[in-house]
């Protein structure tokens, strides 16, 4: 009996991983910026988005996890096998560009968060880039995963910040479960912010990363229940963190009418006089952790995905000579991201808008492909989507597609005006 319980707990801990990690990496500097902005500009009135977003995130992530477990193949593998080389190359090219944009965002986050501690970016960014590179190349997957899991815990920093900021709990909770009144919707930029929050929470790279990690972990269909739990727990935890970021900014910045945030580090800086040094420290530390964490995952995940889809050797357990494309791509993404952040006067904001727009183009394609794949009985057997799940998934896909479309149009139009 004791042995059985021990196995069960160990089983859960062993499976807790990919879903939790993926969802957490999603709260990267771009995500934190969006949440901070929404809290600072619109206070509590955007909190209602958190519950639907969590559901959508769970639906999308669960499909990936299920595909990974049943087919034992990564998403890019499946796209390659079922949709051919051309489509794969197109998607991979888009993914590399989008992810490169995100990588730049992560390094900008590292630079910004360490600047809060008066560390010049010309020192912090190269050192962190080197650390990130070494982490994957010199470490093995098991220890890297453990480090990532540990890093996820530090997101609690945001929850504590939220508590320290002394928000109005009642207002916050009501705003979470109730749609705001008409007046909120008519505020300038409100709808755009809704779209941004949803867009930043579900990113295309996550699906590829999650599915590959689950395949790598070799989860069998018998243990799938635990993996699903991992995905659900991860998604909920991530969005709880997002909720607290919005609340923290609403209670401090919005309450004092300081709505304008350009980069995520601004939020921490602005919080200092309002919520005290601890809130500032935690927010800044959380930002650094999130940036570093995402900077470690994204380039690696991109290199894996691309090589898998194109049938090239990949994996950190291979040598540089065995898997040259894998290592070059990985190295170039990191080196390129670092270089861009260090270039003085690089149009960082425009570039981030550009990559976000591509994000919006790529996401619907990926979700639709996933839906086609997961409903194929010859691939999934009896694990295809059930009718109601399909309805929910298609609905999610359609909403996300429309919102992404709006976001792309808005961002492109916005960039045009500047």
């Amino acid at each position: 009996m004791l042995r059985r319980w021990r196995t069960r707990i160990l089983l859960f801990l062993a499976v807790l991983g990919p879903g939790f990690i993926t969802a957490n990496v999603d709260n990267d500097p771009n995500g934190i910026l969006t949440y901070s902005q929404s809290g600072a500009q619109f206070g509590y009135s955007l909190l209602w988005t958190i519950i639907p977003i969590t559901l959508a995130l769970i639906i999308v992530q669960e499909m990936c996890a299920r595909m990974g477990v049943v087919t034992g193949k990564g998403l890019s593998d499946l796209i390659r096998e079922e949709f051919g080389l051309r489509m794969t190359v197109l998607i991979m090219a888009l993914l590399v560009i989008v992810n490169f944009g995100n990588v730049i965002g992560e390094f900008a986050g590292i630079a910004g968060s360490l600047q809060l501690f008066h560390l010049s970016k010309y020192i912090s960014v190269p050192i962190c880039a080197l650390l990130v590179w070494l982490l994957a190349v010199r470490g093995d997957y098991k220890s890297v995963e453990k480090i990532f899991l540990a890093a996820s815990v530090f997101y609690i920093a945001y929850i504590i910040t939220g508590v320290i900021s002394g928000p109005s709990w009642r207002t916050a909770i009501v705003a979470t479960v109730k749609l705001p009144g008409k007046s909120a919707w008519s505020q300038p930029g409100y709808i755009f912010m809704v779209v941004s929050v949803i867009g930043t929470t579900i990113a295309p790279w996550m699906q590829f990363y999650l599915q590959s990690s689950i395949v790598e972990k070799g989860v069998s269909i018998r243990n799938y229940a635990a993996t699903r739990l991992d995905v659900i727990v991860g998604s909920i935890f991530t969005d709880v963190v997002a909720w607290f970021i919005i609340v923290a900014c609403a209670a401090t910045l919005w309450a004092h009418g300081m709505g304008n945030i350009g980069v995520p580090a601004d939020a921490a800086e602005a919080m200092k006089p309002l919520a005290g040094a601890y809130a500032f420290l935690l927010f800044a530390f959380g930002l650094f952790n999130a940036s570093f964490f995402a900077a470690s995952v994204l380039p690696l995940s991109t290199a894996y995905t691309v090589c898998e889809g194109l049938g090239l050797e990949s994996g950190v357990d291979k040598s540089f000579r065995e898997a040259p494309v894998f290592y070059w791509l990985y190295t170039l993404l990191i080196a390129g991201g670092t270089a861009v952040v260090l270039i003085p006067d690089f149009p960082l904001v425009q570039f981030s808008i550009f990559s976000q727009a591509l994000n919006g183009v790529l996401l619907p394609i990926v979700i639709v492909f996933m839906l086609f794949l997961i409903n194929r009985e010859d691939l999934m057997g009896k694990h295809v989507n059930s009718a109601w799940f399909n309805a929910a998934a298609w609905l999610t896909a359609i909403i996300v597609t429309i919102l992404s479309g709006i976001l792309v149009v808005q961002q492109v139009a916005g960039a045009w005006k500047h």
């Binding site: 196995t7 087919t71 049938g311």
Partner: protein, 417 residues
Amino acid sequence: MNEKRNGPSLTLLLGTPVTEPQGSLFGRLKDIAVATGADAGRIAGLVLKTKQGLELVPATEVRSTPSGMLELRSTDALRPLRGDENFILLKQDLLDRQIIDVHGRKVVRVNDVDLQWFSRDEKQDLRVREVEVGLRGAVRRLLLGVVPRNALDMLARKIPARVIPWEFVDVIEVDPARRVKLKIEHDRLAQLHPSDIADILEELAPAEREAILTTLDEEVAAEALEEVEPKLQKALVESLDSETAAGIVEEMDPGAAADLLAELPEERSEAILEEMDPEERQEVEDLLEFREDSAAGRMTPAFVQAPFEATVADGVEALRAFEGSPESITEVYLVDEQGILKGVVPLGRMVLAKPATRLAVLTEQRVISCKADDHQNYVAELFDKYNLRALPVVNEEGRLVGIVEADHVIAFLRDKI
């Protein structure tokens, strides 16, 4: 040689219009079917998409015309494709899929297939020459329809090819009904080193792994399985039915088998044990009693022993009678009537001695052994300190119960790094 280089590639050939002898359009080339079973690897026919549906025509009944079209010699040889023929369709089942490069001992993805016309009985026949896995095939596929065919063909030829000759290709296509189609029976695969097979298994998806493992000879499967990393080992065995699994586990080294079964859920390992031969089962069950990180958890009960009074000739006899794999043996152990360990004779000394020499004379001065419940770290220390190849394990009374071999220690030390 020149003719060899100029065979058509699958992607360039697909979609080619096929005309009747009179020259009117009959259909288009949709796919190419390759036979499995006795004729495995040979092209069974071209699949044409026509107004009547999919039709199969032998390659000998088709002629390629100078204008780049295909012309039917007659329409008599056509027959409808039913879909249950158990063919491998090159486009549907091979293109973009993973295959095993038996020669290069790895898993690769197919970008294109090179075909070749050759004459047979005064007719033109088609065969698969090689499978392209490099940039050339990829470029051809990507630019098809964007660049004119001839120019594309010229361009593609400038890119160095990475190809695998067709005879070294092992296709592991699992169809919807979960039947496995094989181009070749896994003869060549079975000849690879177990560690190479293990590496290949690790690269594949579960259904494919299972397919390969079950088609391999049990002994080969067992050796390969021993080399697979523990996590995957567990997943693989869990996916097999108990009987198949038992057949493979029986052939494994008892120590490795016990380690594997200990990882499985209890019901599952019991079900597998149930299916095993009583003798092997007993050995494995005994080992399962021990803690995994103890000497006994690492040991194998397969060793060669001889009575303390035995001669070299007796020792050789004992070696001949040994049931496990003889290549792992490095020493012969001498025991008294109670089974108490009395001496260790290295194989080398035995070989050099005369047949009538008593083994007791050849034994090491000091017998180094460990207790069944000693920790594996201690075992590793002993190996290092005394430069051992193998270490006998004794129980409370000093009776020999098994040995730990150097490769077990290396495996455990690598896990720790």
